[in-house]
Amino acid sequence: MDLKNISLEECLKLLKKKKISSKELTAFYLKEAEANKDLNAYISLNSDNAIKSAEESDKRISTNTSRPLEGIPIAIKDLFCTKDISTTAASKMLNDFKPTYESTVTQNLWDAGAILLGKTNLDEFAMGSSNETSFFGASINPWSKDNKKYVPGGSSGGSAAAVSGNIAIAATGTDTGGSIRQPASYCGIVGLKPTYGRCSRWGIVSFASSLDQAGPMTKTVNDAALMLDVMAGYDKKDSTSANLEKTNFYKNLKNNKKLRIGIPKQYKNDQLNDEIIKLWDLGIEYFKKNNCEIVEIDLPHTEYALATYYIISSAEASSNLARYDGIRYGLRNNSENINDLYEQTRSDGFGEEVKRRIMIGTYVLSAGYYDAYYLKAQKVRSKIINDFKKAFEKVDIIFTPTAPSDAFEEGSKIDDPIQMYLNDVFTVPVSLAGLPAISIPMGLSSNDLPLGFQIIGKSFDEDSVLSAAKIIEENANFKKEVG
């Protein structure tokens, strides 16, 4: 049996039919993860506990008391707090941090019978688009070739590399400006950022609280729905968590939903290369074939989204990361003087990109500059949200590329922050508006690297997003195997 190229949905069936045990499945993936250490996808593996949990799952399966994800080993981005298990945010600051509590999203997964395989690599504190800012070194895109190392994207690069490299069946990610969708596109997998408020943020190391959202990274659209059904839900411990009815994304999935598809004219700009435009047109054909109506839409403030995002996310980050002071938890560089202790600890514990964003955030929030930068950005954010609201009066979903390019080589952009930020040009507007969006693999670039496309939905209409993704998935028939 080929356990390598297997979807979560198929695994559930095999487990249910007792064709395989969870212990065998978990041991197989632990072994594969060990054998593929060069991908640097995992920061830590949960080897001993995973096998114990798998044995418990097998007992439940044998007594017909299975839960929705019973016995499925999954990878968790190392930004989710896991009780008594190292949670680093890929930062030296949290290198020795073992949370005393569990994040709500991971607790939901364990309550559904999923098993923690390991914690995956990311850009430090989720700040980056290439995974290169990780304290533990960059994770490698499994599609790398010709002795060159390509980035898996970021910040959830380890999760994307693990799923794409077949060393996890599925993974969790978090997305602040594209951190689930862009690595999913670069690694040729499915990545879903739900509506802001759909998944609890409680227990996820905070980056920018008005943008952060957890979501699944999987091999198929069905798997994303299966995962999100378990991850989502109201949580009174997160004041922005949405109190809505229990979701049923998996059951509601259709492959023939008649949708009105919006194509934003501002996204078809001069910088976009021909092969992406060609694939985009092909996707539009798939929708037409499925009796969907194609509508050109206007998102006039698109060009201001990145600047808005970098002001707001850095401002929120500078505030959120003030907690790392060397006193209550995390790294401490001792000194006789308290101010010196703070400064030494933070200079040593944070990497370059994190410090850069803290300083930008501090500047835009500081007296004399607050109105000109932070308040201004909050107002432009309002205009961007309105653009989407107007567009969604005419369409059900919006279809765009996920990123302006395929994966790039390690080291090629890390010295130019603005070039790096431009990777998020298509994902950031969605984040500012808090909307749900998925990245779905469509094909390969001329360099034989995956290219993903983004499907954006109305607030809390992940059903339409998933159904539209299903249309692309079935038509594109993207090859799952790496290389």
Binding site: I327, E343, R346, S347
Partner: protein, 95 residues
Amino acid sequence: MDIDKKLVKKIATLSKVKIEETEVERISKDLSKIITWVEKLNEVDTKDVTPVANPSDIKIPFREDEINDGKIEDKILKNAPEKKAGYFVVPKVVE
């Protein structure tokens, strides 16, 4: 806007980040570039626009201010770099 060396040092102090004298110029260039880039927003007319802090239409709920846990000192102190007799230890702050 140009973030000159003096302003870089002020921002670093506010950020509680220690920077070396040799780094100041590079950081000044970096930050100036990024801040000039985000000033693109000045092109947008935002007169009478209400700023948005939370993208969700859902109202943030209030709750009663009740004690719902406690007796978790051990958990709170577990990851402390330095602790003593149930307290976090810090350098002397009062003269």
